[in-house]
Symmetry: C2
DNA sequence: TGATGCATGTAACTGGTTACATGATTTT
DNA sequence: AAAATCATGTAACCAGTTACATGCATCA
């Protein structure tokens, strides 16, 4: 196997069996806070994963009008996923359009630049608030061991939280510089 | 105009005229620390930018065997770039394969997980050291106004620096959790 | 009766990566 | 003599986005 999307799907199915529709819905919001996909990507990928015997689909009567297919992970799928998570990530740095804009911010009109930065700050503060609300929920629940699925949620949420805080700090510094 | 790559190129050319080859070289290392491209993307994009009169190319004798084309930004190009940098970024969250792996780390063999995390920590520490060396250089130079090209470098480097520190803190927390 | 949700697909297009191609000059 | 650098392109492929298509059930 190869594609990152495939592993994103395996990661979801490994937690509990799901239908293609449910997986498509889940991927509209970023999995682990940093991966999205559209349903037009999901359905063909599920076909590929099943062909490779990493997941198994069984037709069940759906809650909607049509029958639906519920996918479950196989032993092979679980092994493939467990192996993938510990292989080194590609060393290509992540792309950021946001940073690329700041690279050329020096030639923008200063008042427009300040407006733009204020808008980005607001956006990141909203996101931070969302993460903080989730974090509060998590803290009230029982602590999770590192071998429980919930650990993935806690760890990625913690990253999201500090990621947004760091972004906000930086934008605050930036808006200071433009004053 | 539209493509992000086009704006990355404009951002470089706005600082000083460059040849296609020089631009390809510059983009092998991420511009603003967060955007790369290969030469096979750069050359066609330069043709498009010139067709839109955002840049102007003049043939000059190159340092190598072939003649080369040196591109300079036009008034239109500068205006397009200045406008783009203050328009809101797409609200799609950035993708991160790294985070997606952590989302499923719970089902990995714990000792392999620890090894992987140690490797990622080392990678981020190396990157941080690189950024810190650059930051020291910048601090020794004269301070730059927000309307000077150097401001883009200083601001993006500052982001890179805190980004890596934040990543390192998070991985340290993570390796604590796995112990 | 019109919108929303359930449910699954295909097609066209865009952006990016990898590989292939060519050929002169300079350095080892 | 071979490798690296200069210099610029094309082609094939892969991943991801947007749009198109269908049709039933439920709710406002």
């Amino acid at each position: 196997m190869s594609s990152t999307l495939g592993y994103a799907l395996l990661g979801l199915i490994a937690r509990r069996p799901r239908t293609g529709y449910e997986l498509s819905q889940a991927l509209r919001v970023p999995v682990g806070y940093f991966w999205t996909a559209s349903h037009s990507q999901v359905y063909p990928e599920l076909v590929r994963l099943e062909a490779e015997r990493l997941i198994r689909g069984t037709v069940v009567p759906g809650p909607g009008p049509r029958d639906t297919k519920r996918y479950d992970i196989t032993a092979d799928g679980r092994a493939a996923l467990a192996e993938w998570v510990t292989t080194p990530v590609s060393d290509a740095p992540p792309r950021s359009e946001e940073l690329l804009k700041i690279y050329s911010i020096w030639l923008a009109d200063p008042s427009r630049a300040r407006t733009m930065i204020a808008a980005e700050l607001a956006r990141h503060r909203t996101q931070l608030a969302r993460y903080e609300a989730l974090a509060t929920e998590f803290e009230q629940a029982a602590p999770v061991a590192a071998t429980q699925p919930g650990f993935g949620d806690v760890a990625t949420l913690r990253y999201g939280l500090t990621y947004e805080r760091h972004f906000i700090d930086w934008y605050e510094w930036l808006s200071d510089q433009l004053r």
